[in-house]
Symmetry: C2
Subunit: 202 residues, 2 copies
């Protein structure tokens, strides 16, 4: 038995399907919709449909695009000799957001996930085949693997490295260690281990 | 400057307008929409529009209704001699959800807020005038004021009491005190005060 009248119950269930939204939050969000002006609700509904309809994947790097190549691939100022492999478009945006002279200026490749056998995600579900095709480009010199330092991220990095290594490319991995402004006393064991293993000679 | 392509940025902004949803959560929700099947997104958009279009207020108690009187007011088994005044429909649902022989079986009146001068909400923005009209019903014997034990809830309770008292009705307020299963040692000062002030003779 549902507690609420059908249109409200349906809306609550829809909100509950979103990641990280429980029953109580879904109720709060649904009530706020009912309290909003009709025009605002229509705008929200339209934004949902438009986002789904108009956001496509870039046919080259699989970043979000409104059709055709994405803004990074279209940008003629980007260094086409480097590809940075990321888990999802959010990481790409995070790297693009960095300002300054030393910022990364190469291309990207969005995997759309990481290898995770427990979740039934194998290499064939990711854009790895597509990466191999791009790597055939003679202009390319380096592939930076920027997956997260999680078990799945590391496994994916290793898998890709094994595939690309025989092609004679430079394969690099992001540095992991103490974050900027971090305090060694409060750093977790895993990060300390990374920082020690990745130590550099001065 | 927006970080994302327009349809995505617009969707993120729409999610951000919801209460308690910050930029990061809005991004997460927007990304999950893009990853969903188109049919699911259309269902969500439809649920939004339908909820807004089909949920009306009961012309008697201002609870949610799909048109005409709400399910409580329509229920002939309800005791029409008691009205329980609540801040919003969520409280009404919470009271209706209680099971058992002693459960409340009267009518309700939803104020749609509490008096809060700091937020610019005065008595005229609430359904207080409508409550006064209902109270003229000679069948009515008791009004239970079930606003929250907050500053605004108490002020609203006092305001309504002042208005209704001259009408010769029985006006009651919910009991506040130690909650079921509560531990006196860990009860806050205000609750202890309520519990002591509201003590009953055994």
């Amino acid at each position: 038995m549902s507690e609420f009248i059908p249109p409200l119950e349906i809306l609550i269930e829809q909100f509950q399907r979103l990641p990280g939204i429980g029953r109580k939050t879904a109720q709060r969000l649904a009530f706020s919709i009912i309290d909003s002006e009709e025009e605002k609700v229509l705008q929200f509904a339209e934004a949902l449909v438009n986002a789904k309809k108009n956001i496509h994947y870039c046919p080259s790097c699989y970043n979000f695009s409104e059709g055709g190549l994405c803004s990074v691939c279209r940008n003629s100022e980007k260094d086409k000799t480097v590809i940075c492999v990321v888990e999802d478009a959010k990481v790409l945006m995070a790297i693009e957001r960095v300002k300054g002279a030393n910022r990364y200026n190469g291309l990207y490749h969005v995997l759309h996930g990481v290898i995770s056998p427990l979740d039934g995600i194998g290499p064939e579900q990711l854009k790895i085949k597509e990466l191999l095709e791009r790597v055939a480009d003679p202009e390319l010199k380096e592939v930076i693997i920027a997956t997260n330092p999680s078990v799945e991220g590391e496994a994916t990095a290793m898998y890709i490295t094994k595939l690309l290594k025989p092609m004679g490319l430079k394969i690099t991995r992001l540095a992991f260690g103490i974050p900027a402004g971090g305090d060694l006393e409060y750093t977790d064991d895993m990060t300390l281990l990374y920082a020690l293993q990745g130590r550099r000679e001065l």
